[in-house]
């Protein structure tokens, strides 16, 4: 009890300290904070009514976002297949799969938007850095999922095929793959949905897609157009979510 009491006290002190520190070290002045509310309201006011003439840009940007998500996902699948095998406990030795898993954890830890900024620096503006960034970022999760799919496979039929004289590749193809395929399909679709959702904003850092138009219109003070594009992004996110729910039901 005493320890718990002390722990509770230490935790609240820490939280309170962190909040005070945050107020002190940024330029969050009380007066600015007070005026922020009306300013946001005014900003939102300037977004109304949304300008519907940007339909063409929305379609173009949306299509590019979809292409980034598709090609990025494809790249992630291609990278995740070998990395998934190398991260699996049942396929490789402990030092190897531990190393690969650590690498994947590092990849997952880097936010997509950061990867996209670096890629824009490396290969220039446009959808290409977006595709590379999505492929790289998604591999961190997808390869881990693939490894788990491999490790979740029942061992008995694999041993049976080995006993019958089947080699490692034949065992992979005829005992492991049939058990794994539905899991792989589900995980890949799940990751594709995330990729689509995350690539909507890639354009903000210049990595292609619909986010590019939001950034352009905000920078040029065309808030009504920015509003239309933002609404379109919201509609797309909801649509993706609806499709995802339907797919989940299908795989349940």
């Amino acid at each position: 009890m005493r320890f718990r009491g002390f722990g509770g006290f230490a935790a609240s002190t820490l939280v309170a300290g962190a909040i005070l520190w945050s107020f002190m070290t940024t330029d969050v002045e009380f007066s600015r904070l007070l005026s922020a509310g009306p300013r946001i309201a005014e900003f939102l006011g300037r977004m109304f009514p949304p300008d519907p003439t940007v339909m063409r840009e929305i379609m173009k940007g949306g299509a590019e976002t979809l292409r980034i998500a598709i090609l990025g996902s494809l790249g992630a699948v291609v990278l995740s297949a070998p990395l998934g095998i190398l991260a699996s406990e049942t396929m490789v030795s402990p030092p190897l799969y531990r190393t690969v898993r650590t690498l994947l954890a590092f990849i997952r830890a880097i936010p997509l938007i950061l990867v996209a900024m670096l890629m824009v620096g490396a290969v220039g503006l446009g959808p290409l850095p977006g595709i590379i960034a999505v492929a790289f970022h998604a591999t961190g999760m997808l390869a881990k999922f693939y490894a788990e799919a491999i490790d979740g496979v029942s061992r008995a039929p694999i041993a049976a095929l080995e006993s019958a004289g089947a080699g490692p590749l034949a065992r992979l193809r005829h005992a492991i793959w049939p058990q794994m395929a539905p899991v792989i399909a589900r995980d890949t679709i799940f990751r594709f949905e995330l990729n689509l959702r995350e690539s909507l904003i890639l354009g903000i850092v210049g990595a292609g897609g619909i986010g590019f138009y939001i950034q352009t219109y905000v920078r040029s003070f065309q808030y009504d157009k920015a509003a239309s594009v933002t609404l379109a992004v919201i509609v797309m996110v909801v649509a993706i979510e609806a499709i995802n729910v339907a797919l989940r039901r299908r795989f349940a």
Binding site: A156, A164, G165, L169, H174, A175
Partner: protein, 260 residues
Amino acid sequence: MSPAVQIDDLSFAHPGSDLPALERISLLVPPGESIALLGPSGAGKTTLLALLDGRLRGWQGRTSVLGASLDPDRPPLRARRPDTGFVFQEFALVERSTVLRNVLNGRLGRMSPLRALMGSPTSHDLETALAALADCGIADLAERRVDSLSGGQRQRVAIARCLAQEPRLILADEPVSSLDPARAAEILTLLTGAARARGATAMFSSHQPDLARRFAQRIVGISGGRIVFDVPTSDLSEEATANLYRDTERMPGVGLRAVS
């Protein structure tokens, strides 16, 4: 001709277990014989059969199968493995694949590596698999997925896969445990008949002494990892069988040991 199985002073403990699962076993099985292993749960039947299939490491003693000695430190050469067929107690089928696919899996060790990988059997492979299905009375289930089958049907698939492998030594771990008495007799007729027809040796474990008597020429009783009797079927007394199961009756639970 070399014996189908030759075991000299074999002992084995499962990794992480201090009790030996097999203790100083010796056994000589001439080719073509059908031999039954009887013994209470935990006696070591599965362990002995798995060891002969080359799946266990770290045993002591000398063991050879079909004229080739097994190495306690490494698995047998892959080329030799198709000659020993195994019917698993828990079937070990690929649940999401069809019955025919599962039976064709028994042919993988006899196909070229490329065919095995592509899953494209030769017409001979296919005929052998279909014949095994027909022999086991499940030709009409060929296209069904295993996860839609009953326990008895799965058992037949497991046996068909083993027969499709065309082994010279058939090791069957309780191959009829999921079947009703009539079906059990039918399957053992099939298994021992198929073995005899191709001059193969059959070794099966069972919990049913009457079936062992009917289908084996020789019966080996195992209890607590030791062989307690090894006799031609005609010499097996009711008393010996009764004792085999009685020895462990007073010790229920894990790690059953004979009091002999």
